[in-house]
C-alpha cells in the first residue's frame, strides 16, 4: 500500500485516477481504516485529502455554506454561523461516534461510506444539500441523496472525489432537526434516523419542507409525502400525525439484530414527528 498526501485537488484526482489498482480517499479515516484492518478492503493507494486547503475549510457562499470534504465533525460543531443556520445538520454530524471520532470523521466520508444508517445524510438530504464532485473531467454537483446508491456503493466514477458539501441559503423562518433512535445512550449506530427541514410564512404556515429517513431502506430516502403533509399546514397535531403516517409508510426496512421491521416502521413515524416539532420550534425562533 502507498500513502500520498497531495496539497491540491488536482493532484488528488490525478492520483485517484491513476492506474494503481484500488485507490481510496482518506478523510477522517474512521470507516476506511476499520475496513482495511478488518480485511474488508485492501487498497493499493490511499490519498489523504487533509492537506488540501480547500477541503479543510468552511466558506460562506451566496448566503449558503461550502463545507470542505475533510472538515471534521468537531470543526463543524465549533462553527457558530453554520450551527445557527443549520442546527439539524450540525447536530446530525456531531452524533457520529465519540469525541475521538468527531475529531476525525467528516460528512464527506459519512456520505461516501454509503451506509443507509449514516447519521449526517438524512439531515443533509432534508436540507437540500449538494455534493461538489471533482474528477478527471472537472467539477459537477449532485444532490446528496444521489451519491449513495446501495449499502457501501456510490455513484462516483473512477478518479472522482467529493470535494465539498454545499448547503443552500437559508430562507427566513426556517428550521431543521435530526433525531435518531439507538439502544445505548451514545456511541451507537442508528436503528432509525429522521431529518426534517421546513420554512414558515409570516402567518406560521409551512411553505416548504423536506423529510428524509435513515436506516429504513437500502439507502437514505427522501419522503415527499411526509413533506406534503406539512406544507400548507401550521404544523399542527393533525399535520404531524399525517407526517408520521407518511414516514412510516415510506419505510422498507430489514429485520436485523438492531431492530425489527415492525419496530423501525413505528419508530420512523415517532422520530419524524419529533424532529418536525423541533424544526418547527427553531423556525419560530424558539
Amino acid at each position: 500500500m502507498r500513502y500520498e498526501a497531495p496539497t491540491t485537488a488536482k493532484e488528488a484526482v490525478r492520483l485517484m485516477a491513476g492506474k494503481a489498482g484500488m485507490a481510496r480517499v482518506l478523510a477522517g479515516g474512521t470507516d476506511l481504516l476499520v475496513q482495511i484492518r478488518t480485511d474488508r478492503i485492501a487498497p493499493d493507494l490511499i490519498v489523504d485529502i487533509k492537506r488540501i486547503a480547500g477541503m479543510r475549510s468552511i466558506m460562506t457562499k451566496s448566503g449558503g455554506f461550502r463545507i470542505g470534504a475533510a472538515v471534521s465533525g468537531a470543526e463543524l460543531g465549533e462553527h457558530k454561523a453554520l450551527r445557527r443556520a443549520w442546527p439539524g445538520v450540525v447536530e446530525a454530524a456531531n452524533l457520529i461516534g465519540s469525541i475521538q471520532i468527531q475529531s476525525r470523521a467528516t460528512m464527506g466520508g459519512n456520505l461516501c461510506n454509503a451506509s443507509p444508517a449514516a447519521d449526517s445524510v438524512p439531515a443533509l438530504v432534508a436540507a437540500g444539500a449538494t455534493a461538489v464532485i471533482v474528477g478527471p473531467r472537472g467539477r459537477r454537483s449532485l444532490p446528496v441523496e444521489d451519491v449513495a446508491v446501495a449499502p457501501g456503493r456510490t455513484s462516483l466514477k473512477k478518479g472522482e472525489i467529493v470535494e465539498a458539501i454545499v448547503l443552500p441559503k437559508r430562507a427566513p423562518r426556517s428550521g431543521d432537526a435530526y433525531l435518531r433512535f439507538i439502544p445505548r445512550s451514545e456511541m451507537d449506530i442508528a436503528v432509525v434516523g429522521a431529518g426534517v427541514s421546513l420554512t414558515l410564512d409570516r402567518n406560521g404556515v409551512c411553505t416548504a419542507a423536506r423529510v428524509a429517513l435513515g436506516a429504513v431502506a437500502e439507502r437514505v430516502i427522501l419522503v415527499p409525502d411526509a413533506a406534503k403533509a406539512l406544507i400548507g399546514s401550521t404544523v399542527d397535531q393533525a399535520a404531524l400525525e399525517r407526517l408520521a403516517a407518511a414516514a412510516s409508510a415510506a419505510c422498507r426496512p430489514i429485520d436485523d439484530k438492531r431492530g425489527t421491521k415492525k419496530f423501525r416502521i413505528k419508530v420512523a413515524g415517532v422520530l419524524a414527528r419529533r424532529a418536525a416539532r423541533t424544526a418547527l420550534a427553531r423556525a419560530q425562533g424558539k
Binding site: A42, P183, R184, E186, I189, K257, G259, F263
Partner: protein
C-alpha cells in the same frame, strides 16, 4: 485491613507504566497473526499459501500440515486439567467450530503478518452445523452422565409437594450467549532462551499456564516461566489455557526468535471462551401465606462437541431459600461451537435469573410484596443438608437496600406507577455467591528497617489484590501500607490459586497473614527472651504489632529494629502454606501442578456464601418502548471487607455488568452457519459512560468467625448476580408484561 487504602498499583497505571503482557519489550520480535476457520464444521481440504508467502517479510506459516502432533493433548479444566478445551491446535484438518485457528502467520512486522493472513486461501469441505440448544443435530445429555462428580441437589418429594401446593408457578426462562470482552485483547509473547520458555500472557492462573505449556510442549515445567503482573480485565476469560499459547511457543521455537501475538477483537470471540446460552424450566409450589413447599429446576446449557463444559447453577440456587422439597436436574447440549468457559459468576447469572424471576411471578400470584416473600423463606441452614450457614445477612441486605431505595412507596399492582411518557417499575432480586477458597502459598520477607516484600503468584485483574495483600501484611506487621511491596503474577513466585470463584482475597490474605504470623513469632520470641528488654517474660498473646513496634497492652514496647537486633538477624523470611477448611491435604501438591481445585459453598458440615439485595427502577417509554434504568441500589454482605474502596468498585461494576447483561449484551448467532455476527465493540454493546445510572452500593457489615481465620468472603462475582432478574421484575411491574428471555428487548415491550 478494613481501611479504604488507595490502590498500591495506581501510580503505575495512571502514568502508563504498568506493563501488561503485550507491553513487555522483547528483542527483535516477530509478529504473528491468526487465520481462523470460515466454517463451523467439516474439514480443511487444502491451503493455498503462495500469495501469503509472497508478502515481503513473511517468515513462517504454521498449519496442521506443519504442526501436526507437536502439541500434546491438553487436559480440560472441567475435568481437573488446565485447558479451555482438549482440542489440539493445528493437529488435523478437522474443524469443530467457526473461528477455530487454522493457521498462524509470522512475519517481521504486524502489517506483513496481517496482510499475509488475509492472503491465506483455505478450501473447506463443509458439513451442517448444529448451532444452539434446539438446533437439529445437537446431543442432549444429563450432566450426571458427562461429569461423574456432578450432583443434582435434591431433598424431600418435590413432585408430591408440587401437586399438593395451592399456588404454583411453572415457566421457562432463557439467557443468551455473552462474551467477556475485557478491554485488553488476548495477547501472547513467547521467548525461548535455549530450553527455557518465557510466556508473557494475561493470566488468571500463571501456575496453570506454566504447567499447561510443559504438558502441551513436552518440556520440563521448571523450564517455563509465565509473567503476567497486570491483567487488563479478565472476568474468567483468562483462567483456562487456550490453544493459541502453544502455537505461539512453537512458532517462536521454529524461528528461534521471540514471537508476539495480539489477536483481534473479532478473533477473541472464537479463540477463547464465552458464556453459553441456557434454558430453564422452573416450577415453584407455595402455601397461600408465601411459604415455599416445592422447587423444581431443570437447566439446559450449550457446550461444544469436544468438551462438556457445565455450570450447573442449581448447586447454588437449591441452597438459597428454606424449601423442604427440592428437585433439580441439569443437561448439557453439545453443539458445533467452541467450548464455553467461566464468565463472571458463571452458574449464578443464568440460574439465579430463572429462580428470582419465578419468585417474582409467585409474589404476583400471591399478591404479596416480593421482598416479603423472600423474608418468609429466609433460612439459617442449608435446606438440602441442614448444615448451618457460616454467616448469612440476606434480609439485612434487603432492609438496608429498601430503606435507601424508598421501597415502601412502591405501588403493588403492575402498571400503576407512571411519570409523563414513562411507565415506571420497581423490581428486586437476591444476589448470591458461594464463598470459595483454595490452598495457597506465600513468602514474606521483613527487613530491619521495616521494608516488607510479599511474594505470591496471585493475580490482580483490577480487583485490588495488590492492595488487599499489602494491607494484610501491613496490619500484621504494624507497618504503613507503603512499606510493603507486593509481587504477583509470575510463576516464579510461590503458588496461589486461580483468580476465579472470587477466592483470591480469602485465600491469599489468609496465607500472607500466616506467613506474617511466622515472622511475628520469631520477633516476639526474641523480644521476650532478651535480657533487659521491656517485653521480657510476656506472653506472646499479650503483644501486638503497631506502628513499627511490638507493643504490650500496658504500653511497653520494642521497636522492630530493636527486635531484629535482639534476634541478631538483619531480616526474616517466612514461607507459609494455607489449607482452607474442607480441603484435601493433597491440595497443595495439586496447586503446584496448576490445579484449580477450590473448596467452599455447600460443604458437608457448613455452607458459606455472600448475599446481597438489588432494587432497581426501570422506565419504559410509552411511545418508543425505550428502556432506561435511572437508579439501582444494592446492599451486600461478604464477611470482613479488607478494602471498602475496592470492594465498592467491585459492587458498582458488578451491578452495571448486571444491567448490561439484562439490556444489551448478547452475542448473536447466524443459525444457518453457527457463526457469531456481532464480533466487535460497535455491535456487541457494553455500557458506555452516558448509560450508567445512579448506582448505589451499600456495604452491610457482617462478621464471620467460621468461614476462614480472617473471616473474608469473596465478593467480585456477587453484584452482577440477580440484577437481570430485578430488571425483568421491574419491567413487569412497569408494564404487566413478563419477559422470560434475556436480553430484555424493546420489541418485547411494544
Amino acid at each position: 485491613m478494613g481501611r479504604p487504602e488507595p490502590r498500591v498499583d495506581g501510580r503505575l497505571k495512571v502514568t502508563g507504566n504498568a506493563r501488561y503482557a503485550s507491553d513487555f519489550p522483547v528483542a527483535n520480535p516477530a509478529h504473528a497473526c491468526l487465520v481462523t476457520s470460515a466454517i463451523a464444521k467439516g474439514r480443511i481440504v487444502s491451503f493455498d499459501l503462495d500469495d501469503a508467502r509472497a508478502v515481503p517479510g513473511v517468515l513462517d506459516i504454521l498449519t496442521h500440515e506443519t504442526v501436526g502432533n507437536e502439541v500434546h493433548e491438553p487436559k480440560f479444566f472441567g475435568s481437573g486439567g488446565t485447558a479451555s478445551t482438549i482440542h489440539r491446535p493445528l493437529s488435523s484438518a478437522q474443524i469443530s467450530h467457526a473461528g477455530q485457528i487454522v493457521a498462524i502467520v509470522v512475519a517481521d512486522t504486524y502489517e506483513a503478518a496481517r496482510e499475509a493472513a488475509y492472503r491465506v486461501r483455505v478450501t473447506y469441505e463443509e458439513e451442517d452445523a448444529a448451532t444452539t440448544l434446539d438446533s437439529d443435530g445437537v446431543e442432549t445429555l444429563p450432566a450426571t452422565k458427562v461429569r461423574k462428580e456432578h450432583k443434582n441437589p435434591r431433598v424431600g418429594d418435590a413432585a408430591a409437594a408440587l401437586r399438593a401446593a395451592p399456588v404454583t408457578i411453572d415457566a421457562v426462562y432463557e439467557t443468551p450467549t455473552q462474551h467477556h470482552n475485557a478491554i485488553e485483547l488476548y495477547a501472547t509473547t513467547c521467548v525461548w532462551s535455549g530450553e527455557q520458555l518465557t510466556v508473557y500472557e494475561p493470566s488468571q492462573f500463571v501456575h496453570a499456564l506454566k504447567h499447561a505449556m510443559a504438558e502441551q510442549l513436552g518440556i520440563d515445567a521448571e523450564d517455563v516461566r509465565v509473567i503476567s503482573p497486570y491483567v487488563g480485565g479478565a472476568f474468567g476469560s483468562k483462567a483456562a489455557v487456550t490453544p493459541r499459547t502453544a502455537l505461539v511457543a512453537i512458532a517462536a521455537r521454529r524461528l528461534n526468535r521471540p514471537v508476539k501475538l495480539v489477536a483481534t477483537r473479532a478473533q477473541g470471540f472464537t479463540i477463547a471462551t464465552y458464556r453459553a446460552e441456557t434454558r430453564h424450566r422452573v416450577r415453584l409450589g407455595a402455601q397461600r401465606d408465601g411459604k415455599l413447599t416445592a422447587y423444581v429446576h431443570e437447566g439446559w446449557e450449550a457446550t461444544s462437541r469436544l468438551d462438556d463444559y457445565l455450570v450447573g447453577g442449581t448447586e447454588t440456587t437449591a441452597h438459597i431459600y428454606d424449601v423442604p422439597n427440592v428437585s433439580t436436574r441439569v443437561n448439557v447440549v453439545r453443539t458445533d461451537r467452541a467450548t464455553p468457559g467461566f464468565m463472571r459468576s458463571p452458574p449464578e447469572v443464568p440460574y439465579v435469573f430463572a429462580l428470582e424471576t419465578a419468585l417474582d411471578e409467585l409474589a404476583e400470584a400471591l399478591d404479596m410484596d416480593p421482598i416479603e416473600l423472600r423474608r418468609i423463606n429466609d433460612t439459617r441452614n442449608d435446606p438440602i443438608t441442614g448444615a448451618p450457614y457460616t454467616s448469612r445477612s440476606l434480609m439485612a441486605c434487603y432492609d438496608e437496600a429498601s430503606r435507601a431505595f424508598g421501597w415502601r412507596r412502591r405501588n403493588l399492582p403492575p402498571g400503576s406507577m407512571r411519570d409523563g411518557d414513562w411507565l415506571v417499575g420497581w423490581g428486586c432480586a437476591t444476589a448470591v455467591y458461594p464463598t470459595f477458597m483454595g490452598a495457597a502459598t506465600a513468602r514474606v520477607r521483613l527487613a530491619r528497617n521495616g521494608a516488607t516484600r510479599v511474594e505470591i503468584a496471585a493475580h490482580d485483574l483490577g480487583t485490588g489484590a495488590y492492595t488487599a495483600i499489602a494491607q494484610t501484611a501491613a496490619e500484621r506487621l504494624g507497618l504503613p501500607v507503603a512499606a510493603v511491596e507486593v509481587l504477583l503474577g509470575d510463576s516464579a513466585l510461590p503458588a496461589a490459586p486461580v483468580a476465579g470463584g472470587s477466592n483470591t482475597t480469602a485465600s491469599c490474605c489468609n496465607v500472607v497473614a500466616k506467613a506474617c504470623d511466622g515472622i511475628r513469632r520469631r520477633l516476639v520470641r526474641a523480644a521476650m527472651r532478651a535480657d533487659r528488654g521491656p517485653l521480657r517474660g510476656r506472653k506472646p498473646s499479650s503483644v501486638n504489632f503497631v506502628d513499627r513496634h511490638i507493643a504490650g497492652e500496658d504500653g511497653a514496647k520494642v521497636s522492630l529494629a530493636d527486635a531484629f537486633d535482639m534476634l541478631g538477624a538483619p531480616m526474616i523470611e517466612e514461607y507459609a502454606h494455607w489449607l482452607p477448611h474442607g480441603m484435601e491435604p493433597d491440595a497443595l501438591k495439586k496447586l503446584h501442578l496448576g490445579s484449580a481445585a477450590l473448596t467452599g459453598g455447600a460443604m458437608e458440615d457448613r455452607i458459606a456464601a455472600a448475599f446481597g439485595a438489588e432494587l432497581v427502577e426501570l422506565r419504559v417509554n410509552v411511545y418508543t418502548g425505550e428502556l432506561r434504568v435511572p437508579r439501582i441500589v444494592g446492599a451486600f454482605a461478604a464477611g470482613r471487607i479488607v478494602n471498602p474502596r475496592t470492594a465498592h468498585s467491585q459492587y458498582v461494576g458488578g451491578m452495571i455488568w448486571g444491567i448490561a447483561s439484562a439490556l444489551h449484551e448478547q452475542t448473536e448467532l447466524d443459525r444457518r452457519v453457527a457463526r457469531y455476527v456481532n464480533t466487535d465493540l460497535a455491535e456487541y454493546l457494553i455500557p458506555v459512560n452516558a448509560d450508567v445510572p445512579d448506582v448505589q452500593a451499600i456495604l452491610v457489615s457482617e462478621e464471620d468467625r467460621l468461614v476462614n481465620p480472617l473471616g473474608i468472603k469473596g465478593l467480585g462475582e456477587l453484584a452482577n448476580v440477580g440484577t437481570a432478574a430485578a430488571l425483568g421484575n421491574a419491567l413487569y411491574h412497569a408494564t404487566g408484561r413478563r419477559i422470560r428471555k434475556l436480553p430484555l428487548r424493546i420489541e418485547d415491550v411494544l
